[in-house]
Symmetry: C2
Subunit: 211 residues, 2 copies
């Protein structure tokens, strides 16, 4: 079982690490971080680099594909190397997954046409242009396609998918080892719950908001 | 404002990335990943490397120190380079923090003597040997020392600390941008909630459990 995590310039670290430290704990699985060119790949703020150990051409048949998001998905949505690779590996994958705006990369590759899917709440509407049906759920399963909402939702996706693959008890064991018993200090994690003025301010400044 | 995130061989990625993608979003803050030697540092499973951009000797006065954990804290607890650095930067830090077994590194540096603190649930009792008072809370504040429980709790710590530093509204904004509205597929994230047989099995195999 091979799990490929795609890295690209200015991705969001937690998008990739949430699934990595949950789903990636699958017994016997090999997790491989890949990017167009192997080597360090900088996150959105530039303050950190994760190392992609292999290039896209070196990984042709991963069982699971994980695509993180970032604040500038349009750059990769128009990058043929990435989009073609997604299309190619999806032909044989067991699960094709994304976190946050990663779903826009899957959509740009034509993989979400006619499918229910989600994304970061600020980018959700943009899925429509690619024939996907946006939903407000945190983790959306449609066949082998699993898309999660913004950034931290990859943890919920990772544990849920782990349960489907390895059973509830295994996933619960990983949940306990990662002590995932969330106690957020505020209840502001979705546009329905956050103070309206914060939601409005973010909608106003988001460079990619489709509205 | 400078935030130093310590990396060392076999740390757990999510321990570092939880605070990075919450607290690290502090406006105007410079986040620096440091390790004994600059360069790629492998996580616990070996499947991923994060790059430490600077060595410990290059970072002498960070305002905030973040120490992630990992399954083999004893290696760093006995590493004078790391322990001495922690003691030195703590002398001028505004906040000294840890996630998971990272608190054992702080404890080994003598920084938690007489203080309330937490750690990964499997390692909690080990704090006592260093004069700290273990608590079962998810995030523990004692003066400028903030310790969080296992792995994923660094997200809760990061948002909570962000609120104390930059105000509730700022922290809520980051919570909304990271869409931290957790919906774990199971309720097994703490030893009180997980099935008893899973808890017992993990206690039996944990190489470092003090009991």
């Amino acid at each position: 079982m091979q799990i490929a995590v795609l890295l690209y310039d200015r991705f969001t670290a937690l998008d990739a690490i949430g699934p990595f430290d949950t789903l990636g704990r699958l017994s016997g699985a090999e997790v491989v971080f890949v990017s167009e060119r192997p080597g360090p790949v900088r996150t959105d703020s530039g303050a950190l680099a994760l190392v992609a150990d292999r290039g896209l051409d070196e990984l042709t048949r991963p069982d699971i594909v994980v695509v993180p998001g970032g604040p500038h998905p349009e750059l990769e949505m128009e990058n043929p190397a990435v989009v073609d690779w997604l299309r190619a590996v999806d032909a044989t994958s067991t699960w094709t997954t994304s976190v946050c705006t990663g779903s826009l990369l899957l959509a740009a590759a034509g993989l979400l046409k006619g499918r229910r899917a989600t994304s970061h709440w600020l980018y959700l509407d943009r899925l429509t242009a690619f024939g996907a049906e946006p939903t407000g759920e945190r983790v959306v399963y449609d066949g082998k396609y699993v898309t999660a909402a913004g950034v931290s939702s990859g943890i919920d996706m990772g544990l849920g998918l782990l349960g489907r693959i390895a059973g509830d008890e295994y996933a619960q064991t990983v949940q306990l080892m990662t002590e995932y018993d969330p106690q957020p200090p505020y209840d502001a994690g979705s546009p329905d719950k956050a103070p309206a003025e914060i939601v409005a301010r973010l909608r106003a400044v988001s460079p990619l908001d489709g509205r």
